[in-house]
Symmetry: C3
Subunit: 311 residues, 3 copies
């Protein structure tokens, strides 16, 4: 598949604007499309971002310009190349210029209760539900079928994915002789500016104080944030990860897919949790953890390598 650029441009002008340098490609060549490596009809007007050497073999005879990191350039000798330290940023910039239809406000097809604060700058998707007591900041975009309960406060420009549920009561139970009795969860959810929450993510209401997502945090689809948990500003959380009640994640933390963080655990600023890690103890700032139970990633790899040699 291909995406036509917003405007045809010479390679030289693109490089001048977005950085990097050309190798084996004339600056006057005109680029018309971004294309994936597995297109059959690649031509001289196509720019193909190449992120893995693996795909290079499929491109042995193409006329297209390849957008590569300096490391990859050596693997595709004799080709028209645009070498750039961060090819993804070039792709992001070019795609961002392609005109797209902005989301329309569909609140006439949604349920916005009286008592919800929803500025006119907000775009509400079809069949969304915004309960009384919810407060949305300027420029928020709420997906189809999303539910925002009372007690949820969203900052500016928050994006809520299709079907995401914010502020449902947290999973708190008192176990007694008569079975489990619900602990009411009245603390709501507080979401900072520029947060993005994926499809079907759930962020539960806290008990007394709020569950918190810091400014600029990005949560992928199916992520679950338990009651009273805190995700720090700028942290990025991949799909299907889960945070148990009262867990605390610092700022700028990268969390892989399917990671689980146990209740009351603290993750330091800038830490990285590898995909599927099961974190049952605190993680220091800046550390990279993996495994179940999660340990420093190098320890985890040695453990498994040693165990297999010894068997």
């Amino acid at each position: 598949m291909t995406v036509a650029l917003a405007e045809r441009a010479t390679l030289a002008s693109l490089v001048a604007r977005l950085g990097g340098e050309l190798s084996g490609a004339r600056g006057l060549r005109v680029v018309e499309r971004l294309a994936t490596p597995w297109e059959d009809d690649l031509s001289a007007g196509d720019l193909v971002p190449l992120t893995r050497a693996r795909a290079a073999s499929r491109l042995a005879s193409t006329d297209a310009v390849l957008l590569v990191t300096p490391e990859l350039a050596a693997r595709v000798p004799g080709r028209a190349l645009w070498c750039h330290p961060a090819p993804a940023s070039v792709v992001a910039a070019l795609l961002g210029e392609v005109a797209r239809v902005p989301p329309v406000d569909e609140r006439s097809r949604a349920l916005v209760e009286a008592g919800a604060v929803v500025p006119t700058s907000v775009r509400v998707g079809a069949f969304a539900v915004i309960r009384a007591g919810a407060v949305l900041g300027e420029g928020c975009r709420v997906g189809a079928h999303a539910v925002v309960h009372g007690g949820v406060v969203l900052g500016a420009r928050v994006v809520v994915g299709d079907g995401a549920v914010l502020g449902a009561p947290g999973f708190g139970w008192e176990l007694g002789a008569a079975g489990a009795v619900r602990v009411p969860q009245l603390g709501g959810v507080r979401v900072g500016d520029d947060v993005e929450i994926g499809a079907h993510a759930t962020v539960d209401a806290g008990t007394i104080g709020p569950t918190v997502l810091g400014a600029g945090a990005k949560l992928d689809a199916h992520v679950h944030v338990g009651h009273n948990a805190r995700i720090g500003p700028g942290s990025i959380v991949a799909a299907q990860a889960g945070f148990a009640g009262s867990s605390r994640v610092g700022a700028g933390v990268l969390v892989g897919g399917q990671v689980g963080v146990a209740d009351h655990v603290e993750i330091g600023d800038g830490a990285r949790l590898a995909a599927k890690a099961g974190v049952i103890g605190d993680v220091p700032a800046g550390a990279t953890y993996a495994g179940y139970p999660a340990v420093p990633r190098a320890t985890w790899l040695r453990f498994h390598a040693a165990g297999r040699r010894r068997r």
Copy 2:
């Protein structure tokens, strides 16, 4: 954040009603709010539940009354304390008295098919779908966007979370030369009284007989229960856990977040499965299992501790 109590009350009257004892705090002191430890404006009228010693240091100079277990009391010397064996039960009781708006019936905005049995005592959320052949007990509460298929029978007072899907066909396939052919799933779902099902949970229909959730079971968000599985009465299942087809969980079992239970596995009454456990064999009643593959929790911890020493 804070929650104002339903009624101002003296500490002495609260202790008389809810148990525990005072230490360093006068019984005549009046409590007005429940508050979290990280409030900036804590005052003598605040009651702060303290569940971890970690938060105590932030409270070195507060006038608030701390609600603590007897074990934690020694960590906060010289402070106004309410010692209670189960502080969470105090919080639950006080929050439960705070007036909340009861959910309204929104079935005019939902789709309740002719042929569904939905008593007038049931509260149906906006955009919910209740199919013909579904039978709901008295006092059920169905969240926004929930789907209840035909063949699902809910007991009394069942709470169905936003977006939960009950009774969709189970994932049964016959693999043949022409590809996978669906095995019809006509057994429905049977849910006992007082069950609570979280947002976006899915409970699939059984093949011939029903998939079963026993009375009083509590399922958190994103939980998946496969076809023909049985979750015993009073069992509590944390977020993102999954139960494969025909798995059987006994009564009063505690299941951590992201746990997976393989098909046909049996979990005995009162067992505990640690978060993220991957259970591929039976678990005896009363046992605590962890790990992947899941084993007794002590074995799991020794295995990992030994492996790391040896590397």
Copy 3:
């Protein structure tokens, strides 16, 4: 629970039609119902599929006919048996004959935007959202609350589960000094014929080219397919599994529940990934992998067995 057959039939006629052979059961006996082993009122007109020896003890004195594999037959001596190499195929055939109400088109209660291509043979569920630029093939069935974004192309007879979200922007971010900046995702999703997608599954749009589900693939509930990933034709993916961006799964792969596949990893044709496997490297065609990090299943089992002996 039991399911009445579409038509009463003699055992002999069923065997003639569906294969297998009788043992200790007269061919003239008439079968009226399919029943599960734990029914209290089993009688001579019931056919009970028995998949595990475990359930046999409950059936010591029943008059029902047991449908078993030849392997299981020896475990239930002296009983009326229908031995069949694939009892599930018999169940599938008999249940498939039971009349069921076909799904009704509810697009008057859904939002189908102008600019979406939705043939009249498609059944759209209540409150579904089909955006401009989506193209659906003949005979598709879209569940309640499903969302199909622009750029999604569905083949013929695709089944989209309740609440599934297809074509939301993939989770691509450029991390810069000013925080994370979204990489636009304009590549859409391409789904082959006869694919089935479970409730609440999410399949994200690719960046330039599409995210792809091959013909005949079956995805269970809560499955997440990241941007630019490819799931091969005929592959079967159990609940809560996740595929990171640009991962590639071959044809006819069996993926267990809660499996995670890392970005850019390739899974060969016909491979099997055991439930909860965490796959961080390529898997050869035909191999069976398990564990986290995933390795050949036999290696994984030895590793854990040895580790536990040594502790």
